[in-house]
Structure formats: C-alpha cells, structure tokens
Amino acid sequence: MSEEPILAVEGLTIDIPMAQGTLHAVRGIDFELNRGETLCIVGESGSGKSLTSLAVMGLLPKRLECAARKLAFRGTELQGLPASAMRQLRGNRMAMIFQEPMTSLNPAYTIGDQLAEALLLHRRVSKAEARARAVELLGKVGITAAGSRLSQYPHQLSGGLRQRVMIAMALMCEPELVIADEPTTALDVTIQAQILRLLVDLQREMNMAMILVTHDLGVVARVADKVAVMYAGEVVEQGTAKEIFGHPSHPYTQGLLRCIPVPGRTKPGEHLGSIPGIVPSLIGKVEGCAFRTRCDLAESACAKPVPIHRTQGGHAWRCIHSRTKKADTERMPA
C-alpha cells in the first residue's frame, strides 16, 4: 500500500514513577494501522492496553513518562507536537470512546451541548448546524427521538444510551481513527452485542481505522483485522486475526484462547482453560520474558532477552521458542 498508515507506533514505552521505583507499564511495543482496518488489542487488566491507547491520543497523565521511536499519525510525528496541534487532531481526526459511559459524560451539561461541543471545537459551524449534526449522529447510533434527547442530561439516560451518545460524540467530526477502550465492558450483556455491532457498522460505513481495546477474545474473533496480544506491558504476539486465531504462537496467546469457548469447537461441559499464577511486578528493571513465571515451557533462557519471530505475513511473536509444539498439536484442529 502506497498510502501512509493511519497510525504507526514503534518502540512505545510508558513508565510510571512511583515511590518504590519506576513501574515499566509499557515496554517497547510496535504496531501499524491502515485506513479501514480494525486492530484489536487484547490482554488482561494491567497489561498496558489502555495506557497504549491513551498514549496515542496524547491523554496520558503528565506524571507518566512516555517515549517512542515513532508515534506517527498519517505520517505526522505526534511526539513533540505542540499542544495546540495535538488538540487539532484530538476529537477531530482521531477520537476515543471510553469504557465507562456512566461517568464519561459531564453531568452538568445536556447531551446536545456536549455533542455540539465536539463539532464546534473543530469546525466553523453555527450552533444550530452543530445540533443538526448531533441529531443526525444520534439517529445513526440508533437513538430514537434524537431531537428531544438533546436537551436531556446524562443522568436521565441508561448506560446503553449513554454509550451510544459517546459513540456519536466520537464520530461528530468523522475521524480517521477511532480508539474504543473496552466500550462494552460496563454494559449489560444484552446491550454489549448491539453496541459492538453498531460500532463495527459505523466503522465500515465511514471507512475509519479503529483500535478496539478489549479482553474479550470472542469480540476479537468477530471484528478484528489485526490483533495485538499484550502481556505485562509488551505485545507478545501480533498478526492478522486469521493468523492469531489459526496459529497462536506465543504460549500466552494459546493460554488465552484456551480460556474461551469456541462455537462448534468447545464441547458442552468441557473444561475451559485457565492460566495459573499472577502477573509479575513491573517495578524496577524487567528482563527476559515476563510470562516465564506462568509459562509451562519456561526455560532458563527465558530470563535473557527474548528474540522476536516474524513470518512474512507480518505475524510476529516474542518467545524463545520458534513455534511451540503445543500450539500445533493442541489447538490445530485435525
């Protein structure tokens, strides 16, 4: 593809200074995202998924230290960009949807004000035009009687409705990149699927790039073009969805996949897997494979710097094993 990637990240690290030492929350991750693609970042809580997405938006709390060899949006390096230029991008060309719809809307202002603000901040339009756009988008996210909703306050809406409003707000300026940080986690299970479907439909319709941060592999399987699996601040494996699900190569990915039921593959009553152990402390110097404390295949070499294996299709994983037998034997269907 000759077009610049929407987002290119290389060697992103995020450190959190703490009283007891520095917490290396994200350690050298790389990924790339093109127009129309959906990248799912998967991992358990504390693996650095949300920090990574906040880093892209430039919304990390100031006391965190963030560095990268490259952090480019459509070829523009975001690091060192003046705050005003960064603001021009945020909400306009890249937007974010947060996990907690209940608290992510300002309780003091109406839905209409908050939606319109997103547009007014970036476009020279009248308030009336902004409200018209808000009504249009509320319609798009499936809110009925959109016009009358504008004058309502967040506390008058249900969680699902609020998340729809959040999505509408993110899309007000037709961004090229949408980052959705676990957008459905806080919602009722019945609503989750609707919201996700809506998000994916809109992404396709508007031909946006999307980063979907989630720990739900079921979701990933349905929507992802690319997948990045994070563990303890590192991307331990990434590639196309097909490859990740077809040939999980890192023991952690394999473990994760064992934890979810796969329709048609998991028999009723069959035990789902689990990964024993806890995530290690990331405070102080972290060396070697972080997963080694929980890995069945750990060897003494795991304590040393770990090589990255890459295939030509862009599938890469970080392990001393080139491709574990387990993966081939256990996960590959006959």
């Binding site: 909400g91 947060f98 202002y109 901040l121 306050y153």
Partner: protein
C-alpha cells in the same frame, strides 16, 4: 424542584422561629428591662409603671408571642438607648454590613477559587504549597489582630488607606481583606478538593479527547462541577461573615450592624440586640436557602429528575 423549594422553605421558617425563641428567652433572662429603661431618678413606682406600660409583667410566652408578632411586621420595638425604632436603626446600619459582607465574600471567592483550581491542577507543586500555606495562615490569623496589623502597615506606615470610616471605597479595602481572608481558607480547600476529584473524573478525559483546550477543560468542564459544593459553603460563610463582622466593624470604626450589636450589648439595649440576633440569623437562613436553590439549579441531577 418546587416541592424541594417548599420543603426547604418550611425548614428555614422553623429554624428562624426557633432562633427567635432562643434569643428572646436568652435576653429575657438577662434582667429587668423596665429598670434599665427607667433611668436615673426613677422610683420603684415609676419602674412598676413602666413594667405595666410595656407589659413586662405578663407571662413569658405572651410577651414572646407579642414580640414575635410585631417583629413579623417589622416592628422590633424601641431602642432603650437611642429611643428610636430598632427597625429604623438597623435599616440604617445594615447597608454597611451588607456591603462589607458582599465585598468580603467576593474577595474570598475571587482569591480562593483560582488558588484552589491552580492548586488542584498541579498538586504538590509550588503553587499548591503556597495555596496551602495561605489557607493555613488564614485559619490561624486572629482577625482582630490582623486588622490592627493592616492598620499599622497600610494606614500608618504607608499611608495608603484610611484606617476608619465608610466614606469612600478605600475605607472598605482593609475590612474586606480581613473579613474575606477569614472565609477564604475553607473555600480554597473545598475548591481544591472538589477540583482534584473532578479532574480525575472520566468526563474530563472525555472533554480532553474531544480536543478541548486546558482552560476550557478546567473552567467549563471541571469547575462547573466542582463549584457546586463551593456555592453552599460560600453562602454559609456569608452568613457567618455578617454575624462575624462585629470584630471587623469595631476595629475599622465602621458603623454597621455588627458594631451596633456590640455597642448595644454593652449598653444593655435589649430590643436592639434581640432584633440583631434575629436579623443575622435571618441572613444565614436566607443565604443557605438560596444556596440550596442555587445548588439545585447548578446540579441538573437535583433540578431535573
């Protein structure tokens, strides 16, 4: 909203009634108003006559009801000292106290809110520590002493400001600072705490994600939510301030209601003292009532739904 307002109004009236009863009985116990009124050459017969004339010989409750009924019509009786209607005296003096209160609370808000916001934006920074220092100082400074120190510095040494009186705006600078500084620390701390809480709220991140600038985030999104409790505190402080203006008025020779109260206490001018306690309590009650309404208006969660 209406039922909310009515409920609060009912409570306010009840509180006012109770305060009036307390203050009336307090001063009722303080001795015989008749002999205080009778003056120098009065015989015991004169005093007895006065007692009957003014009805001091009636049962306590009857006197209270009578006083309250008149008070409701704005008649607080006659000052023993000035021999003028108390309502006229108070009306005459109240404007200065009100002006002082408004200036004081404005000063407190104008200094406390920006300081509190700045301190919350950069916790543990130099500005946060400075703000904390200022507020700790303010809480510990005896206001009467602070007033005297200001007079020594700004009136005597620098000769910038007049030490007493109420003739020009310059007269109000030092009293405003003293009175405002008294209310400032609490407002500052509450603003800081509120902002700290609000700044960690998800909707602030949302606002930033929209591309809103820092000022817009601070003042439109954060302060609006953090200010809600500050409004009630400011109202409460305003009520306290009017009651507490006694000290400031006496230092700067401002002939306001607080000063009148102090002098009237010394002169045993009971009707005036009673009326003033009620008036000051009334202010407190009205301000807190208004602040409840303002809060409801500021916070849509109370206003609608």
């Amino acid at each position: 909203m209406l039922t909310f307002a009515l409920k609060r109004l009912g409570l306010a009236v009840l509180v006012a009634l109770t305060v009036s009863a307390v203050s009336f009985s307090l001063l009722y116990l303080s001795g015989d108003p008749a002999s205080a009124m009778a003056g120098e050459s009065a015989t015991s017969a004169d005093i007895e006559a006065l007692r009957r004339l003014y009805g001091f010989d009636r049962p306590f409750l009857v006197q209270y009801a009578d006083w309250l009924f008149s008070a409701l019509q704005g008649d607080f009786g006659q000052s023993y000292y000035f021999k003028l209607p108390v309502s006229q005296l108070i009306a005459d003096r109240l404007s200065i106290t009100m002006l002082l209160g408004v200036c004081g609370i404005s000063f407190a808000l104008v200094t406390a809110i920006p300081l509190g916001v700045a301190a919350a934006v950069r916790p543990n920074s130099f500005i946060d520590r400075t703000a904390l220092f200022i507020s700790v100082m303010g809480q510990a400074l005896p206001s009467f002493w602070f007033g005297l120190v200001l007079i020594v510095i700004f009136s005597i040494q620098l000769n910038w400001l007049p030490p007493s009186g109420s003739g020009s705006w310059k007269n109000f600078i030092m009293p405003t600072v003293v009175l405002g500084y008294y209310a400032m620390p609490a407002i500052m701390r509450l603003t800081r705490a509120g902002m700290l809480e609000v700044l960690n709220a998800d909707y602030i991140r949302t606002a930033r994600a929209k591309g809103a600038g820092e000022w817009r985030v601070m003042f439109k999104h954060a302060l609006r939510n953090a200010v809600v409790p500050v409004v009630s505190l400011a109202a409460v402080q305003m009520g306290f301030m009017l009651g507490g203006s006694i000290v400031v008025e006496s230092i700067f020779a401002l002939h306001g209601a607080g000063y009148l109260a102090w002098e009237s206490i010394g002169r045993n001018d009971l009707p005036t003292v009673q009326a003033l306690i009620l008036v000051f309590a009334g202010f407190y009650i009205v301000f807190t009532f208004l602040s409840d309404l303002a809060n409801a208006w500021l916070d849509p969660r109370i206003r609608v739904g």
